[in-house]
């Protein structure tokens, strides 16, 4: 009989008890209710702060993503980019490795990619440049992700803080090369002429397709490959992993290298396919938003399509609101923040339940 169970008889009136798994239907219901409540709350805030008529407020949010065909494409593109970074960090998160350095990992990859474009552009054929861009991006991402992993595996160095710092080192590394590359007299690097990814139908489709493929591949990797299985076991219980002979250190490093490589691909797609340039702001906080996307989806690639849609939809909608009502462009962040708080809070009701004293008594006797 366990003795250190601190379950005491003199419980307060309410007590929080861990749930033993909730049916999928109910979890969806709770989350939907949270999102709905959050929207209502935001409408209320908008009404008070910017005197926005609720109907035109919600209309503006909707139009932000679906107002025109171009907006729909932009929505899909933004989802693809965010989803790609979210997918990249997911293997590590499944292992309970708190990598909050996707921002930096994507940024160095973007830098490496732009470097290939800058130095090789005009000297060799585009196909060769693109191949070099891809390889360089992946390697850069792997280095940026691999360093914290090695120290985590060897000395248990705190990975959250390590990866956070690596973001800034990446930012200034980009700043350094920007100074070197920017032609004197101009303020930014500008568009690099060579090594653009080919266009399919329009400038976004290729990227959307690539990310769709990555989503499926990662889903397969995590759920159907031996590596993915090892990641799950290490994440759930290191003790079990050792018991069945998994080399935990190796899995940590390998998984972070996979994460880094995927971040590399994200950087490659952003620079090669969209921006054709690099700035300190190329990733623009997506590395952090990706953590939300991945976490809200419980680290499942399929659900991440939905959560990244939600976040991009909110962002664009709120941007439309700030445009329509002529308010600060910072308004989207406020809206996204509020809705995130609601969703984060709602997780509590999925994982825990509140038991009153009378109910608890019945429970123990049963």
């Amino acid at each position: 009989m366990t003795v250190d169970n601190k379950h005491m008889q003199h419980e307060p009136l309410f007590r929080v008890v861990k749930r033993d798994g909730l049916p999928l239907k109910k979890t969806i219901l709770i989350r939907a209710a949270a999102i709905l409540l959050a929207f209502l709350f935001c409408g209320l805030i908008a009404l008070i702060l910017i005197k926005a008529n609720p109907i035109s407020f919600y209309e503006a949010i909707f139009n932000g993503s679906f107002g025109t065909q171009r907006k729909v494409w932009k929505l899909l593109k933004d989802i693809a980019v965010l989803l790609c970074i979210s997918l990249a960090i997911t293997p590590a998160f499944r292992m309970k490795f708190w990598n909050i350095g996707a921002e930096g990992q994507v940024l160095v990859a973007a830098l490496a990619c732009a470097g290939c474009m800058y130095y090789m552009g005009g000297h060799v054929p585009d196909a060769l440049i693109i191949a070099a861009m891809l390889i360089a991006s992946i390697l850069a991402g792997m280095i940026w992700a691999g360093l914290p992993a090695i120290f985590k595996a060897r000395w248990n160095t705190n990975e959250t803080l390590f990866t956070l710092m690596m973001n800034y080192i990446a930012t200034f590394l980009v700043a350094y090369f920007l100074i070197k590359w920017t032609p004197s007299g101009s303020s930014s690097l500008g568009e690099l002429k060579f090594g653009h990814l080919p266009r399919l139908y329009n400038e976004y489709l290729l990227i959307i397709l690539v990310v769709a493929v990555i989503t499926v591949l990662l889903h397969i990797y995590l759920n159907y490959s031996k590596h993915g299985y090892e990641i799950s076991v290490v994440g759930e219980s290191e003790k079990t992993a050792k018991y069945i002979g998994i080399n935990v250190k190796k899995v940590i490093i390998r998984t972070m290298l996979v994460s880094g490589a995927l971040c590399g691909i994200a950087g490659f797609l952003i620079v090669g396919g969209l921006d054709h340039s690099v700035t300190e702001n190329t990733v623009g906080g997506l590395g952090f938003t990706a953590i939300m996307v991945s976490w809200l989806a419980k680290f499942k690639p399929g659900y991440m399509v939905l959560t990244s849609f939600l976040l991009v939809f909110l962002d664009q909608g709120a941007a439309q609101v700030s445009q329509n009502f002529d308010i600060s462009s910072a308004f989207p962040n406020v809206i996204v923040g509020i809705i995130l708080f609601f969703i984060i809070g709602s997780e509590f009701f999925i994982d825990y339940k509140i038991v009153t004293r009378a109910k608890a008594k019945e429970g123990t006797k049963a």
Partner: protein, 320 residues
């Protein structure tokens, strides 16, 4: 520029800038000592700045209210604004057991947005009039000495007081126990939840002052608020550098301040022959340093220098 004057001016700019980090890191240390890694600190500093500036604008125009009172009200407003953010963070992580990293990041997104929204509604002349009040007593100084205003000294005082409370008082002992081993603290009758709430709210309030200090003392410009988020992230880095001790943070903040502006100063000193293009590499230094500190403390594995034992792990009593 004369080399020695240059160096003196450099130090005089670096140390006051460091106070921004000192507010942020002192607040974060209090929070981390209760076992919560609050990545919302950048957002909290932003909201603190916005709250403070809004309060000053409410007291506009100059002369209607006594300068000392303007400063006091602004400080209280910044503290309150930061504290409210801390309350939100505590509610989500302590009461609702939400993931700390995710909550913190959401808080930063929200806080940065909220600040930009508020600042866009304010007019800079209507709060910058109070700049001399904050830079008292050196407001008239032509040199960088002008940065050493009241909040500069308050930051130092606050860091020392926090160190004293943490290391020498019963409350500090209990707080550290909560962050190291909440189950043990709970077993000896310490109210774990209360300590977590109070430490986080006060810590966030202090961090909020950092934002106000940066705008109303150090930078004193219309655009200043755009840099606060970056200051917030550095403040979190400083916590590691300071080994979770506010009095070390005092030295660390000066070092960070020096490194932060090294990029702007060092290439200007011609005798050093450092080219302008290496500015970003110099700016990288505080982060590289922090990574090195992190690695060294994990390799040395000295127990006193490790992060609080239960950092990042929410406490749930029924868990065995």
């Amino acid at each position: 520029m004369n080399l020695w004057n240059g160096i003196l001016d450099y130090i005089l700019s670096a140390v006051p800038l460091g106070m921004t980090f000192l507010y942020g890191s002192t607040g974060e240390i209090l929070t981390e000592k209760s076992g919560h890694l609050n990545l919302g600190i950048p957002g909290i500093m932003c909201v603190g700045a916005a709250g403070g500036c809004a309060a000053i604008q409410a007291l506009h125009p100059a002369g209607t209210v006594h300068p000392a009172l303007v400063v006091l009200i602004a400080v209280l407003a910044a503290f309150l604004a930061g504290g409210l953010m801390g309350m939100l963070y505590s509610f989500l992580t302590v009461t609702l057991h939400a993931n700390q990293n995710v909550t913190g990041l959401a808080l930063t997104t929200f806080g940065v947005g909220l600040m930009k929204f508020i600042m866009s509604k304010l007019s800079s002349v209507k709060y910058l009039y109070a700049l001399p009040y904050f830079r008292y007593p050196f407001a008239e100084s032509e040199s960088s000495l002008k940065y050493c205003g009241v909040l500069f000294f308050f930051a130092i005082l606050l860091a020392l007081v926090c160190s004293y409370v943490l290391l020498k008082t019963r409350v500090g002992l209990h707080l550290r126990a909560v962050g190291e081993n909440p189950a043990t603290a709970d077993a000896v009758g310490i109210n774990v939840f209360l300590y977590k709430y109070v430490a986080t709210v006060i810590g966030s309030g202090i961090a909020g002052l950092g934002g106000l200090y940066y705008i109303m003392d150090y930078a004193g410009s219309q655009e200043a608020y755009l840099s606060i988020e970056a200051m917030g992230w550095l403040s979190i880095a400083l916590v590691i550098f300071a080994l979770w001790k506010p009095h070390i943070s005092l030295i660390g903040s000066a070092v960070f301040g020096a490194l932060f502006i090294a990029g702007a100063y060092i290439p200007g000193i011609r005798e050093l022959h450092v080219s302008m293009s290496s500015t970003p590499l110099l700016k990288m230094l505080p982060y590289v340093f922090t990574v090195l500190v992190l690695i060294v403390i994990s390799i040395r594995n000295k127990r006193e220098n490790q992060p609080p034992g239960a950092l990042g792990v929410n406490y749930y009593r029924e868990e065995r």
